[in-house]
């Protein structure tokens, strides 16, 4: 009974976040364009040598997702802070973790959509040959996104309500995401090159471990950072 209430609340928050996001189209468009722009900049930095670009594709892709994603996380709380909606949100009865779950799922969908665009552009710009193992790459991308979004949604709950939110979120988030980025980049890169050293499996394991641990940890800790 109580649980189905929570599920209903989670659904409502997801719907609300995505609807507001969809209606202010500028948000998604600008975040996705930023991701593409970062890819272009990486292309220019690593420049015109096709092989170097190809080698760096996985890393560039993940960094573009990370940098653009950070904007999405702060945005998702900005909606709540305008007009004091967070106050109203916190006053509804029910478990706090439902708020986190709702925001998390909405951010997952948001970042996944952005990922689709960035990956499509990346394949073109970095002349990536899509390997036959692409379903595994998709799986790794989903695992990586879950890791980034769970921590991003969690830390943004604090940073968006503090002074210096622009600098605080990356400062807290990036070091925490090093394992997940390392694993996601390495696995993606390995699969793009045919996984000759058979390492993608190990990285996938790492991603699963990371996701499970930090999903549990952020769900438990969210209550402490959202109130007061």
């Amino acid at each position: 009974m109580a649980f189905s209430d929570d599920v209903r609340r989670i659904r409502a928050i997801v719907w609300k976040d995505l609807t507001t996001e969809r209606r202010s189209k500028a948000g998604f468009n600008s975040v996705a364009s930023l991701g593409v722009t970062i890819l272009v900049l990486f292309g220019l930095a690593l420049g015109p040598d096709g092989k170097a670009l190809h080698d760096a594709a996985a890393g560039a892709l993940w960094l573009a997702i990370l940098f653009a994603g950070v904007l999405a996380f702060n945005r998702s709380y900005q909606v709540e802070l305008d007009g004091g909606a967070l106050e109203a949100l916190l006053l509804y009865p029910g478990a706090r973790w439902a708020i986190f779950a709702g925001k998390l799922i909405a951010n997952l969908i948001f970042v996944t959509l952005m990922l689709v665009i960035v990956v499509a552009v990346g394949i073109v710009l970095f002349s990536v040959d899509v390997p036959a193992t692409w379903p595994r790459i998709v799986l790794i991308m989903m695992l990586g996104v879950v890791g980034i979004v769970s921590l991003g949604t969690f830390y943004a709950a604090m940073s968006s309500r503090s002074r210096a939110r622009e600098v605080l979120l990356p400062l807290l988030l990036y070091p925490m995401l090093i394992p997940v980025l390392l694993a996601a980049m390495s696995a993606t890169k390995a699969l793009l090159f045919g996984d000759v050293m058979n390492e993608a499996g190990a990285w996938m394991q790492m991603l699963v471990i990371f996701d499970v641990i930090f999903l549990v940890a952020t769900f438990l800790a969210f209550e402490y950072v959202i109130e007061v």
Binding site: L151, F154, Y155, M158, S162, R163, A164, V167, L168, L171, L172, Y174, P175, M176, I178, P179, L182, A183, S186, M197, E199, A202, W203, M206, I209, F210, I213, F214, A217, T218, A221, Y224, V225, V228
Partner: protein
């Protein structure tokens, strides 16, 4: 005293003066003893002596972060502000030693490996730990409300601590899979005595540092509580 609130406390018990003196004298002794008694290593020459500052610094940095973890958990569990102050003090001292470890590691790596930095699991993990500490301290400085600051930084501290073994594991995998150079070789037992002495000295010093920083934080809060008692003085009188 006025309020029935767990977070009301008076001034701290000062750290005993003898502990400070002991820590410093012991530290000087350990440093001199180990430098004087250890012969030049066959492979590394005098460079081996870097070990007597580098390894203890790394050890106390990780230890201090362990204190942050435990104190943060206790704070969230019991809502005892003293635990938050202890976590903050440990984080400060820990980040100092963590930074020191990194610099000393570079001073060892440059003549040994020919590079200032290597993406070795230990170095990388220490660097990530240092960055997490920096974020933790930045968060503390950006949040004014003490209760909010306590809860937020406790959450950040705990998550950061959880992340350390994961970072270690990921860098280890990354390194072995890519076959970068191997670890520095294990340390000869001949030098163990000096190392242990210095580890003990650094630990003592760190305890004293944390204690004094904690003491300062307690005085600051006690001053605020005294002001509170004055402000709330005749309530309902």
């Amino acid at each position: 005293m006025f309020p029935a609130h767990p977070n009301q406390f008076g001034p701290p018990k000062p750290a005993p003066a003898w502990l400070g003196w002991l820590a410093f004298l012991f530290f000087v002794f350990a440093q001199v003893f180990s430098v004087v008694t250890s012969p030049a290593d066959a492979m590394m020459g005098h460079l081996q002596k870097n070990m007597y500052v580098h390894v203890p610094a790394a050890w106390v940095a990780f230890g201090a972060f362990g204190v942050v973890l435990v104190a943060s958990l206790y704070f969230l569990w019991r809502d005892d502000e003293r635990a938050d102050l202890l976590a903050a003090s440990s984080a400060e001292v820990g980040s100092l030693f963590c930074g020191l470890t990194l610099v000393l590691g570079m001073l060892w790596g440059r003549p040994t490996w020919g590079v200032w930095w290597s993406w070795d699991a230990r170095l990388t993990t220490t660097l990530v730990l240092f960055l997490i500490f920096v974020g933790y301290l930045a968060l503390r400085s950006f949040v004014e409300d003490p209760h909010r600051r306590g809860q937020w930084s406790a959450a950040v501290g705990i998550l950061g601590a959880i992340n350390v073994p994961i970072v270690w594991m990921s860098v280890q995998w990354w390194r072995t899979l890519h076959q970068i150079q191997s670890n520095p070789r294990g340390l000869s037992p001949v030098y163990l005595r000096g190392l242990l002495l210095n580890v003990a000295a650094f630990t003592l010093l760190t305890i004293w540092f944390i204690w004094r920083r904690y003491e300062a934080a307690r005085y600051e809060r006690a001053a605020e509580h005294a002001a509170q008692a004055a402000a709330l003085g005749g309530y309902n009188a």
